[in-house]
Symmetry: C2
């Protein structure tokens, strides 16, 4: 009983998704700047203009790739973490969700956004500005939970929320780079210990 529903649209959307998937994986390893339409086409066994037709510019391919990666990050890191109650618990949960996301190898080249940060931090343009927004959002999340924890008295009143956010973020980031560099996910455990130490230092 073969379906008679039109396949065209469906296949097109599936191809679109498949391209973005390959694009995210490639960009996490080699950077968003290394994405080329021709290379994606070769890897996926379709023609260059077949890939091109889905995005109509390289810029849009890059943009959609970043958006797709943001959805993965949301699903793999943010959503699990916000199930924890606000404050110190969610702060810890955000760190742990990120470390777990590294260990699970969600992207083959380590954290997509850590790579993007380093790649675009020093260049000018709309891509840089988008990274700024994303980074501020992430740091803001950590800082916000730290602030709640201070207000609740879970953290000492002299704790600087922004500084704490920085000190928790730092080992997450380094764990990503070093675990990827050494192809050794057990290095993530150093990040976990660092987070524990820092939290232990500020709890009342």
């Amino acid at each position: 009983m073969p379906t008679d529903v039109p396949r065209r649209r469906s296949d097109g959307e599936q191809t679109h998704t498949v391209i973005l998937d390959a694009s995210m994986r490639l960009a996490s390893i080699e950077g968003i700047g290394s994405l080329t339409i021709g290379r994606l086409a070769r890897e996926l066994g379709i023609s260059k203009s077949g890939v091109f037709a889905h995005f109509r510019s390289k810029q849009r391919l890059q943009h959609e790739t970043i958006e797709a990666a943001a959805a993965v990050f949301e699903r793999e890191v943010l959503t699990p973490a916000v199930s924890a109650p606000e404050g110190i618990a969610r702060l810890e949960a955000l760190c742990e969700a990120y470390l777990s996301y590294l260990e699970r190898g969600v992207f083959p080249g380590g954290c997509f956004f850590a790579h993007l940060l380093a790649e675009l931090d020093a260049v000018d343009g709309p891509m840089h500005d988008a990274v700024v927004v994303g980074q501020h959002r992430w740091v803001g999340l950590l800082e916000q939970q730290a602030t709640v924890a201070i207000e609740r008295g879970d953290l000492g009143p002299t704790v600087d929320a922004a500084q704490l956010a920085f000190e928790l973020y730092a080992p997450l980031e380094l764990a990503n780079y070093l675990a990827t560099l050494d192809r050794d996910p057990s290095i993530v455990e150093r990040g976990r210990r660092a987070v524990r130490m820092t939290i232990a230092r500020v709890v009342t």
Copy 2:
């Protein structure tokens, strides 16, 4: 009284240096993978094959660029730090020398090697392996001074030297990326505070 000494050799060496200088600056901003011979030529106002003649392959241009950047790092970070006595003093001096090197804007795109780490951590090949060696050397320096400090009793005997090296390195790295991203060198101060806090936690 014009000099009659041959200028050819001297000019050639000077051009070589000028090319590597531009190459380091460009790579610190856009990455070693964004280096192209044509672009360097355009920026320096010489012909493409004029640049090419100095290196004879792109690989050698990249290699010499990394070596030149290593010499800058040695001069701007390592040399100042090793004037401090071994142990806790040198450990702090290494961190401070790195943070100062960020603040001074030695490279226009932030730390050359932080960029290189993120760019090459997930790829395979000789460039990756060279980054591994360089990173291990840097972490090893920190760990070695931590070990000396523990042996001398400046740090508690339960301190894990490798873990401490990681926890000091992390804020240095994040300070680089965030200060570069936000074009705000004052963010380096967050790194400095983080280093102070971590050191304060482990001293006896």
